[in-house]
Symmetry: D2
Subunit: 280 residues, 4 copies
Amino acid sequence: MSMIKSFAILGGDKRQIFCGKSIAEDGFGVVFSGFERYSGEAPVRSCSMREAAGECDAIILPLPCSRNGKTLNAPFADREVLLEEISSLAGSTPVFCGMKNRMEVCFERVFDYSDREEFAVENAVPTAEGAIELAMREYEGTINSSRCLVAGYGRIGRVLSSMLQGLGGIVTVSARRLGDMAFARASGMNAIPSSEISGKYDIIFNTIPHLVFDPQTLARTSPSLVIDLASSPGGVDFEGAKRLNLKALHALSLPGKAAPAASGIIIKNAVYNIIREEQL
Amino acid sequence: MSMIKSFAILGGDKRQIFCGKSIAEDGFGVVFSGFERYSGEAPVRSCSMREAAGECDAIILPLPCSRNGKTLNAPFADREVLLEEISSLAGSTPVFCGMKNRMEVCFERVFDYSDREEFAVENAVPTAEGAIELAMREYEGTINSSRCLVAGYGRIGRVLSSMLQGLGGIVTVSARRLGDMAFARASGMNAIPSSEISGKYDIIFNTIPHLVFDPQTLARTSPSLVIDLASSPGGVDFEGAKRLNLKALHALSLPGKAAPAASGIIIKNAVYNIIREEQL
Amino acid sequence: MSMIKSFAILGGDKRQIFCGKSIAEDGFGVVFSGFERYSGEAPVRSCSMREAAGECDAIILPLPCSRNGKTLNAPFADREVLLEEISSLAGSTPVFCGMKNRMEVCFERVFDYSDREEFAVENAVPTAEGAIELAMREYEGTINSSRCLVAGYGRIGRVLSSMLQGLGGIVTVSARRLGDMAFARASGMNAIPSSEISGKYDIIFNTIPHLVFDPQTLARTSPSLVIDLASSPGGVDFEGAKRLNLKALHALSLPGKAAPAASGIIIKNAVYNIIREEQL
Amino acid sequence: MSMIKSFAILGGDKRQIFCGKSIAEDGFGVVFSGFERYSGEAPVRSCSMREAAGECDAIILPLPCSRNGKTLNAPFADREVLLEEISSLAGSTPVFCGMKNRMEVCFERVFDYSDREEFAVENAVPTAEGAIELAMREYEGTINSSRCLVAGYGRIGRVLSSMLQGLGGIVTVSARRLGDMAFARASGMNAIPSSEISGKYDIIFNTIPHLVFDPQTLARTSPSLVIDLASSPGGVDFEGAKRLNLKALHALSLPGKAAPAASGIIIKNAVYNIIREEQL
């Protein structure tokens, strides 16, 4: 990590603030810009984009870096910042961003921290905890001793099912592949094929990004609560759930909401990993 | 369980409603009284005290049965109900109540479900989950990978520490007895004596019912969040925490708040156990 | 599973006997051949190859089906059986075998149960338990509270590390991919890169199939016991270990040795899965 | 721990050797006597009783200290040593021993490390691991996915059931008290009353020290393997098991056999705890 001694954090939400603070605690220089209107517990000195970009060896943009392709995603900034402006200020300085493909602007040297495997796995942790917090708030029983179905055994399904089991839930996992079903069983869970969801459950957590919980499946499994973690449009027929009088919630962007500090550190870790691999 | 075929649920909060509904699902007759103003999702037909007491083989009073010694604890009732009235309606009908010693009125046959060992253990589950939900809401990191201290290794400490470990927390337990410390270590946790709380923690959960977390201890352990589960006055110097700028919360009566359905079933189980043991 | 009503179990060891018995318990007809000299607790009636092949709808050969390419792997048979003979007896009957590529003889319809993903995952369970049994026998401490390194986080590493943790071991996992390291950390374990094994350990379990534990690494990690689970030549320098006075063991074919009953059922499950998928 | 700087280890088996070596690693002086015929991997210089007792500030006797009340339990000694001799050599030197009540000889200052709560809890760990090792060796399936009954939920039952669950076993616990049953259920296990053992099991572990598994109970629960951990006469009718053709094993003194190093450290810990409490 020889060359990069200081970072500019440009835009983003609370996660970026925690990211920057954690980098500073590691002994690096850190400047912030685009947080003029932020008034959280731990205040941040926000300087101008020019000043920030000029003083640093590397720039970190938020996740996603842009919502419209043209301007920086900077909810706490006091003005709109064009990505063009950042690109020209950055020059050959390395830029780290989330969801690079959302930007319609070119940067000389840009790296996407959000498409890395370890980033996705680490984010499964705050996602799973956010889902559990939501379930605890909305469900009138305890997770302990409840029948929980985790539909899908990808990164989130794997972390979430293990946490539910750790709380004493009676966990069933659905998976597409027989090998994943075997893994779940070896961990002491029940496993069923995702194509044939069956059984009765108290709480259903869905992570499969296409329609699995149609009205028939919802009626058959009769949950007290359904939490859909799959990105829009999700895997639950919410209209159908309403007609069946089932409480169904679509929980999106949990990491940033449930655990901004943890999410900021996950961004930091991914940036560090890129720096190491790319020998920046 | 030969003689008792029907129950009257007199007063109480949501827990008693769930208790009664669960008893009804077991095939017993159940009548409610003292829920006239309740307007939850699952409505309850509330009859008069006289009618309810007259129709049943056993009466269940809430937890606590009274807050002032003289009237029934019935937040959803449309009038004040004197315990004297219930006592005279009950006659020799068995009465099950929580915290019997709060009542200044005599009943012919009265049993306290709240002083039973299994009742206390089962309530440790919703208490622990309620504490975890609160920690997830208030803490900006994840419990996973966080350093958690559970002070006290009684019923709640035992259940809570195991759940935190199941979520991937790095758990330290404090206990008074060396044997309890050995149990915690055998479970893969760190253990320290309660008389010498040391180390740094992200989240502290206190279950010890006397002052353990004085300002010095709070400063030394430097938690981001302190949750006190011990009944009033608790084991945390909240004033001191404020001066140290530490977020400290006193969480009381968690079972009823966090998981009324589970709490209702726990009351039901204890009542059934008394009926079996006393051969009522 | 409409067409196949009976199975012939030809050759193999104790696993095949358990496989056949478990199939019989499911209600299918089962005949055995090639077990003339078997004298275990649960005797098996062994008929002739001709009789067995003639009476069945499907044939199950062992794992591996052959050790030399030409004859059946049948340690309990009273004579050598040529694969040619079985092939001609089988005709168009479906044949299920393990390690098909070891055979130099053609079959009309042959399916390999041993190259299936779920078969490999399920076998990780008896492999992990066999490794733990060995560690318990050879190590003079307890796994509980011991520092255990599991090198490699494939199927076996994943199951084994979780079991060691369940026993109260202090588990470090080594992995090649950052994503796998993140999964291990989310499960409450330490994780290090396989390319830079570091730290001190009481017990090392290796699952990586190339030389990782050279004398330098062994000296640096100073284990009391090394168990190599990787197939020959394995990942441990056994000569070097000897010179360093370290106890190092190469544990091969654990499933069949440690848990023949479980292994037989795993074979059965894989055969059933093939039948379902191929609609035999 | 101011006054005691050196220890004499007099008699005992491998555990005492590990105990002494571990004490020496903590920086104390350690001399051994009564190990003249010991020829293990790590040799021990055995001096005379007189020399050993004369050179030390404290004496550690084995567990049990005597088998007949009169002579030291010293299987590796080259002669019989009378406890009278040790008593007179010891004088006012503190003596730590296991099972003090087995001795018919008086010592001036004697402390029993074996009747301490934390000693018993810590010994539950090697006992549980020894039982699991035995089960793995004798059972032809895997513990993972097997139905395991742990009869009795005392120290050993508590540690053992949790380890079996960590291996993926399907664990049922039997207990006498409803509170203990509630704890087991909160941990995700099944719980049944010890007075009404029911259900079918693959492996039964008994820890209850009176006859629970009579022929009727054995027949009804139909286990493949029964391991009795209760001290003689144990809780299993072994004759009846034989008639039923059930494999039943009485496993005694597991800690010393399965994990002498761990057992030696447990003795050391208890001695240190006595020194601290008694301010020796």
